[in-house]
Every structure is written in structure tokens, then in C-alpha cells.
């Protein structure tokens, strides 16, 4: 379940963003994930827990391993919200251009 607040604070950390980028290449074990980072495996596990809690990744049980992968719904949810913001600014201002074109200077003076 996606929690936008949790998702955004999860994304605020560079290590967690790097973990997500790595997971974008496919399912990975904690050992493999920890390899490129100069931090301990327990520290990576804590980051994984945050990402899991935020709904951005999911884990499955495979023997003694618990490999991680991206949770498409979580990433899409964040991405959708982001796309809304991006699009909102551009669309809004294009629309404002049109509104301004219809505003008459006469009416402006009347408001003073």
C-alpha cells in the first residue's frame, strides 16, 4: 500500500535512491545490494525496511533469502503524483496566457 508521505521521505535519501536504481535492473538479494555501498549490511537492511514500509519495494521468501524488487504500484504512484506536478505548472501557465489575453485593460483600471 503506497503512503505518499513515507514514499517521499524514503526518496529523500541518496542511498535509498541508489538502491531503487539498482532494483530497476531486476530482483536482487540484500548481499548483492550491499556490495556497491560503503556501509554495513544491517544499514542496508534498515534502508530496505524503509523502502518496503513506503510501498516502493516488495520482498519474497526464497529459501533463506528474501530478495527485493521494485513495487510497480508504489513507483507508479509517486511518478503519477510527480507527473501531475510537472504537468500542472506547464498546463496552468499555458492556460493563464489565454486568461490574460481575455482580460481588458479597461477592467483593470476599474479595479484600482
Amino acid at each position: 500500500m503506497l503512503n505518499l508521505d513515507a514514499a517521499f521521505s524514503a526518496l529523500a535519501d541518496p542511498t535509498r535512491r541508489a538502491i531503487l536504481a539498482r532494483l530497476a535492473l531486476g530482483e536482487t538479494t540484500i548481499n548483492e545490494l550491499a556490495e556497491p555501498f560503503p556501509i554495513s549490511q544491517p544499514a542496508i537492511s534498515r534502508h530496505i525496511k524503509v523502502l518496503e514500509g513506503a510501498g516502493l519495494i516488495v520482498r519474497r521468501i526464497d529459501g533463506t533469502q528474501r530478495p527485493c524488487r521494485l513495487a510497480p504500484a508504489g513507483i507508479m504512484g509517486v511518478d503519477q503524483w510527480l507527473a501531475v506536478l510537472r504537468e500542472a505548472l506547464t498546463n496552468n501557465y499555458d492556460r493563464l496566457d489565454q486568461v490574460l489575453a481575455t482580460m481588458k485593460p479597461k477592467r483593470l483600471r476599474g479595479k484600482r
Binding site: S9, L89, K111
Partner: protein, 159 residues
């Protein structure tokens, strides 16, 4: 040509600029009068703003409500802190998604620019982490590219 610029400043600021072919009075009014705000501050196509409160005085309330006509909706509340008619406004705002996002303090400037207006939005977030989260919104081109990549990869893996 892209008219919109978006950049970060220091640890907690985001600055947006956009030029308009209308005088500062008109752009200012379009940002503070509910009847005008409802015409353009709508986000993606298909969304509308059924309720808009904008009490353009220091301490005045702001409340924007958006719906997409398909059961989706969210809202924003805020307060005006300072207004210099046709030149500048300062307000705080927060989105409810449904939980409130941290307060975003926004200074909006309406500067004359030839026959038009240079609009400058200077946002101040409570801390660097909040801003990073906001920029993770894809406002920063680098992040946008990573997200596009992520989305592409996820898309190709979807059933």
C-alpha cells in the same frame, strides 16, 4: 522554446520563473482573484476547481479544491502573509493528499518585463529533506530522467 525555468537555490529554495505577455496588474489579479484563479490553476486537462477561496489580505485564507470528475480530488489550504498589490505576494500553502505536506512558503513576484511580466515564484521548504522530496517530484531534470527510466523498466516487466 520553453518559457518555464525551475531551479534550486541554497538547501531549501526552489525558484520558478515564467514570462507573460500581459502587464503585472493582470498577472497579479489572475493569481489572487478566485473567479480568475478558477480559470487556469487546474493542473492536468480534465481537472476543475469547484471551490476557491482567496482572501487577498494579510492573514487571509486560501483554499483550493480540485476534482477530476471521476471521483478523484484533493485540496490545498494556506494563508496570505503579505501583499503588495500588482508587485508581490507571500503566502504559505500545504497540499492534502490526504495527509498534509510540510508547509511551503511561497513568495510570488510580478515584475514588469518590457510590455509584459516576469513572474518569479520563490518557494521555501522547511528543510533540505522536504525539498529533496519535492524535487523527487520530477521537477529536477536529472530525477525526471531517472524516473522515466524506472518507469520504462517497470513497464516492460508488468504482466
Amino acid at each position: 522554446m520553453s518559457k518555464l525555468t525551475l531551479k534550486t537555490e541554497g538547501d531549501t529554495h526552489v525558484v520558478v520563473t515564467r514570462r507573460f505577455a500581459a502587464p503585472p496588474e493582470a498577472v497579479y489579479r489572475a493569481h489572487t482573484e478566485p473567479a480568475l484563479i478558477k480559470k487556469w490553476l487546474l493542473g492536468p486537462d480534465g481537472w476543475s476547481m469547484p471551490a476557491c477561496i482567496s482572501e487577498a489580505r494579510p492573514g487571509g485564507k486560501i483554499r483550493y479544491e480540485w476534482v477530476n470528475g471521476k471521483g478523484g480530488g484533493f485540496y490545498l489550504t494556506g494563508e496570505y502573509l503579505a501583499l503588495e498589490p500588482f508587485r508581490r505576494t507571500v503566502h504559505v500553502e500545504r497540499m492534502y493528499l490526504p495527509d498534509a505536506t510540510p508547509d511551503n512558503r511561497v513568495e510570488t513576484r510580478f515584475d514588469p518585463d518590457d510590455a509584459g511580466t516576469l513572474l518569479t515564484l520563490r518557494m521555501t521548504l522547511p528543510d533540505g529533506e522536504t525539498r529533496t522530496a519535492m524535487l523527487a517530484t520530477g521537477m529536477e531534470s536529472g530525477m525526471e530522467a531517472s524516473y522515466a527510466r524506472l518507469e520504462g523498466m517497470i513497464g516492460s516487466k508488468s504482466p
